[in-house]
Each structure stands twice: as C-alpha cells, then as structure tokens.
C-alpha cells in the first residue's frame, strides 16, 4: 500500500514544471506577434516558485518525500533560490532578443523552465540516480537552447559540441554511480551515510573509482579544467541570453551535486588534494586564457572557468565554512555574471555586431549609464571592494586561511589580481579609446533595463550589506540527510 505523499516538499518543482506546460499549451494558440505573453507567464511562474521556496524554508515536520528520494532542506532551498533568480533574470534578458531573432520559437521559455526544473531536482535529490536524472533533465533542454538560433550556423555547432561532450560526461557520471551502487547496494544518500556509520562492510575500491568517475562527470558540467574545452566555444556560439542562462544555474547545480555526493564518499576516500590541484589549475588556466581573448563572450567564458576555480577552493576547504562560502559565492556570481551578459546583449542589439572588446570603444561617452553599469559588473567580477564579488571572494579566501590552506589562498588572490587586468580592459576600451566607426543608436528595451537594474542594485546591496545573505548561506551549509 502506498503511504501518502508529502507533496509540499516538491511544490517548487511542480510550480516550474506546470508553468512550462502552460507556456507550451498557450504557445499553440497564440499568433506570432503576441508571443510576449509567454514570457509574462514564465516570469509569473518563476515568481510563484520563488515564493513557495521562501515558504518552504519554514516547512514543519517531515521534510522528505517519495521514500527519501527528495528532501526540502536549507541547502536545497537556498540553491533553488539561486536557480529561480537566475532564470528570472535570464528571461528578462531574453525577451527582446527572442522577439527579434527567433520570434516563432515560443518553446524557448518552455525549455528554459524545464532546464530549471532539472536543476531543482538536482538540488534537492537525496538519491544518486535522481541526481543523474536531474542532470539530464537540465542538460537536454540546454543542448537545444544552445542551438536554438537557427539563423546562425555557429549556434548549431555549439549545440553539437555541447551535446556530444555533455552525453560523454553523463556516461562517466553514470558509471561512477553504478560502482557506488555496487559498493553499498543502494544509491540513497541517507542509507549510505547510515551504512557507513554502522560500519557495514563495503568495497572501498568501488567507492574510490566511483567517486573519481562521478567527479569527472560533474567537472565536465561545471567546466573544471581539464574538462573545460567546450565552454568557450559553446558560450560564444550560443545566443547571448542563453549563454547568460547557462553560465549561472547549471554551474550551481553541478556544484550542489558535488557537495551532496562527496559528503558520502569523503569518509571512504579523501579527495581533498584532488580538489586542491583542480582548484589551482582551473583558476590559473581560466585567467591566463582570458587575458588574450578579444571576443567578450569568450572572455566571459574563460572568466567563468576561473570563477569555478574559486568555488573549488571553497569545496577544498569543505566543512561549514567552505560550503557556506561556496553557496554565497554562487549567488553573487549568478547575479553579476547575468548582469554582465545583460550589458553584452544590450550592446549587441544590432545583429551580433558589438561582440569584440575593441568594439566597445567610445561607449563611455555615448551610453553613459550602460557603461557605468558594465564597469560596476566588471569590478564585481574582479573582486574590487565595495562590490558583491569582493565579499564573496573574501569569504572564500578567509575560509581557506582559517583552515590552513595558505598556498591556496595566496594563489587565489594572485589570480584575482590577474583577472582585474582583463576586466579592466573592457573598462579601458569603453572610456579611453576612440571608436573606429560611427556608433549606432541603441534602443534599450524595458525588460532588459529591468534585468540590468535588478542585478545592479543587488550587486551593490550585497557588496555593502551582505549580512542577511551571508546568514542565509550559513544555513545552507547544514546539509541534511
């Protein structure tokens, strides 16, 4: 007999999923020029989901559902908040772009919402196989979104590359999960923690190889060097709003999966030194390659690799301090990165014209508001005091020092300094260089403006008064089983 299902636990997922279906159905009945209604429905749905997430923070009683398959703990809810914010901002960034470039594809929003649905599944899954399903649920719509711009050949290429490497990575992840299943006889994280605590015999070899394979699979998704090679090409080829979307949420989802899985495998095999090496290599390699990029999307792609490196520093530190600083940094990164991409979309209003950093020459005097906003986002990405990015980096590196990872902190800070150089290049181009050609007018769409203003306010607000957000991130660090 089936016990009753604890529905409130999955209300946020349901809200997103149902919205996706409503958008899909409404799309059928809407004539081409009214497709903007779809974006309104999506925004409304995400806001509802966000509201439910906030309500679920106070969920009383049993927080698990579906036979311990999902849990509604602070970690999951915190990450769901990040996903909702990221998706909301990405929708605002997309509206005008979508209407101009691929107006007939109303499914755009459905796919975006389904991808968010997948991320949410990953964030609150308590079973390895559910984490895997969530990852696929997140990735399959993303492959399509990367190739949605059919007018541009490079978008299709990005989809192919993303798809082949993504499916390849899923194979590794699945093999890892299979070996962990073989070692414990179950894939439920709660059960495995109990088994280890009870001292039940298991095969440490399987868990060891399994966790390495899982790490490879997730490292692909997060873009950890040496599994990063798809990131620059896919970010460049995909339409700019899609790039904004996939540079934020999916990375956070991969990180939360790493946090959940490695809590159970750490007692068996200690991978701290692996994370240490990966963190150093990822930070350094991302930053070095970012220096030479002329295309702004590629530059932001390499910078996103470097940011994953900083997150790995937090994961290496581990414990409550590490997890909370990683969670906090992911929120900050989502906001500032989507903000930066919003400006890129804004400047790319006319075709894909202003994509090179050198094209930004003269924007400082021509578009003062956009230029100053971009400067703030670049400062935040570089970690200059007074911005949200600084607080995030400060938390990560102080955590590293508190736990004795001095070298890691030193390398991280040096990397931040290097990164300021290439972020400044954009600012220098905007304010100090003369434009080569006459600048075309840019009509700022209201939706894009909303996204830019929200991100700008959040970056400044978190930068100056981070306390509320930090305490939320601290809560998120208490992983429940």
């Amino acid at each position: 007999m089936m016990p009753p299902i604890n529905w409130p636990v999955i209300y946020p997922e349901l809200a997103i999923c149902i919205t996706a279906f409503i958008v899909l159905i409404v799309d059928l009945f809407l004539p081409g020029r009214h497709k903007w209604v779809l974006s309104l429905i999506s925004i409304f749905g995400v806001l509802v989901a966000l509201q439910i997430v906030f309500m679920n923070f106070g969920l009383k009683g049993d927080t698990k559902a579906f036979f311990g398959m999902v849990v509604s703990d602070a970690t999951g809810l915190y990450f769901k908040t990040i996903f909702c914010i990221g998706t909301l901002l990405a929708i605002f960034v997309s509206i005008t772009y979508q209407r101009r470039e691929f107006p007939e594809v109303g499914e755009f929003y459905t796919l975006m919402l389904l991808s968010t649905f997948g991320m949410m599944i990953m964030a609150s899954a308590l079973d390895l196989i559910t984490i895997f399903l969530g990852l696929e649920m997140m990735s399959i719509p993303l492959y399509v979104l990367a190739g949605i711009y059919r007018g541009r050949y490079r978008s299709r290429e990005a989809a192919l590359k993303y798809f082949l490497l993504g499916a390849f990575a899923s194979g590794f992840l699945l093999y890892g999960i299979a070996l962990i299943y073989g070692a414990f006889g179950t894939t439920n994280i709660t059960r495995i923690v109990e088994l280890i605590a009870d001292g039940k015999p298991y095969s440490p070899f399987f868990v060891g190889v399994g966790s390495v394979l899982v790490l490879i699979g997730l490292a692909f998704k997060a873009g950890v060097v040496p599994f990063h090679m798809w990131i620059p090409d896919v970010y460049e080829g995909a339409p700019a709003p899609v790039t904004a979307f996939m540079s934020a949420g999916p990375k956070a989802a991969a990180i939360v999966a790493i946090l959940r899985i490695f809590v159970i495998t750490t007692p068996v095999i200690d991978l701290t030194w692996v994370f240490w090496v990966l963190a150093v290599v990822t930070m350094t390699w991302g930053n070095i390659l970012a220096i030479n990029q002329n295309n702004i999307k590629r530059m932001l792609a390499y910078s996103s690799i470097a940011h994953v490196g900083y997150l790995l520093v937090a994961i290496t530190v581990g414990g409550e301090e590490g997890v909370s600083s990683a969670a906090f940094y992911l929120l900050v990164y989502t906001i500032m990165n989507i903000g930066a991409f919003a400006i890129v979309v804004l400047f790319a209003e006319r075709e894909e014209f202003y994509e090179n950093i050198s094209d930004y020459a003269g924007f400082g005097s021509r578009f003062p508001f956009a230029a100053i906003t971009m400067t703030i986002f670049m400062a935040s990405l570089g970690g200059i005091p007074g911005t949200a990015g600084f607080v995030g980096k400060f938390m990560i590196f102080s955590g590293a020092i508190n736990h004795g990872f001095y070298w890691l902190a030193v390398i991280g800070v040096l990397n931040s300094l290097v990164s300021i150089y290439y972020y400044l290049r954009v600012v220098v181009a905007m304010y100090m260089r003369q434009p080569q050609t006459r600048l075309v007018d840019i009509a700022i769409s209201p939706s894009l403006m909303i996204a830019i203003i929200i991100t700008l306010l959040l970056v400044i607000q978190i930068g100056i008064f981070p306390d509320n957000w930090l305490s939320l991130a601290k809560q998120a660090a208490s992983l429940a089983f």
Binding site: M2, I10, C17, L24, G32, A65, F66, F67, M69, V70, P103, E104, V105, E107, T110, L111, L114, F117, I121, D127, I129, T130, L133, G134, E136, M137, I140, P141, Y143, V144, G147, I148, R150, G151, A159, S203, F205, F206, G208, V209
Partner: protein, 166 residues
C-alpha cells in the same frame, strides 16, 4: 556450462564493440552496435533478468538503432566524410588514455573478493517486483523520466522545424 555461454557472448560483444569504433562507415558501425546490444541482451538473460533483456532488444536494438540507421540513410553521406582524427597527438592521447583507463579498471575489479558463480535466479526475471519497485520507491524518478521524454520531444521538434516567417 554457464561460463562457456558467458565467454561466447563476451567475445561477441567485445569484437563487435571494437568494430563499432574502428569502422569508417557509419552504417557498418551501426550494424555492429546492434550485434553488441544483442550480445548484451544475452548477458542479461544469463543474469536472470529476462524482462530487461527483452527491453534491451526492443528499445536499444529495435527503436534506437533503427533511428540511427534511418538518420544515416537520410543524410546519404559521401565516402570522404569518414575518417579518424588526423592529428597524431590526439590519436596517441586517445590510445594512451584508453590503456590507462582499462588497466585501472581491471586492477580495481581484480581486487574483488571472488564470489563464486551462483545459479541463475529466475526470480530476477519477474516483472511484478520490478513494477512494484517502480511505483513505490522509484515513483519520483519515474515521473521525472516522463517529463524528460517530453522535453526531448519538444527539443527535437524545435531543432527540426523549418524556419517560419522572417
């Protein structure tokens, strides 16, 4: 006796798998992949999972591979489309990585306590326990899979549909 059948199926699976990745022609590869999948279905029968073996043939060898062949025929590839990586470094890297991975995996597996072969458990082929498992403990993944398949259909339609207007 059971071991002999295992060896035969394993050899078929490995040989045809090697053929899949070394043939230049996609049609040949696809046909060898079907052979591999049928051999794997045979292994499932050896393990007592008759139902999953049937699914393996119907879904993998049947539906998925037919779709592959269909696309290959549809694309009507020219002969010069085919080939391997021309860069020596990449090929060396691929070979080296393959060897390292294999040695590692075999090393790990060979450290296992040798569990003697057990008789085939016909219980594992029953559908009812599988279905019970699906609709109780794994209900949530089951529902996710349904949404996932829907997402895949939407995605395939979005990519394939012709550009309208504009």
């Amino acid at each position: 006796m059971a071991n002999v059948i295992f060896y035969i199926l394993a050899v078929i699976a490995l040989t045809s798998a090697l053929m899949v990745v070394t043939r230049k022609n996609a049609v040949t590869s696809a046909v060898y992949l079907i052979v591999t999948m049928c051999a794997i279905a045979g292994l499932f029968v050896q393990l007592g999972a008759v139902f999953i073996a049937a699914l393996q043939i119907i879904i993998y060898a049947g539906a998925i591979m037919v779709l592959f062949l269909f696309v290959i025929m549809l694309l009507n590839l020219r002969k010069d489309e085919f080939g391997f990586d021309t860069r020596v470094f990449q090929r060396l890297f691929a070979g080296l990585l393959g060897i390292v991975l294999l040695v590692q995996l075999i090393m790990v597996v060979s450290r296992l306590p040798v569990v003697a072969g057990q008789p085939v458990d016909t219980e594992m082929g029953r559908v009812a326990p599988l279905a019970t498992k699906f609709f109780t403990q794994y209900l949530y993944p089951f529902e996710i899979i349904s949404v996932l398949l829907l997402a895949a259909i939407i995605g395939a339609v979005v990519i394939a549909k012709k550009k309208m207007g504009k």
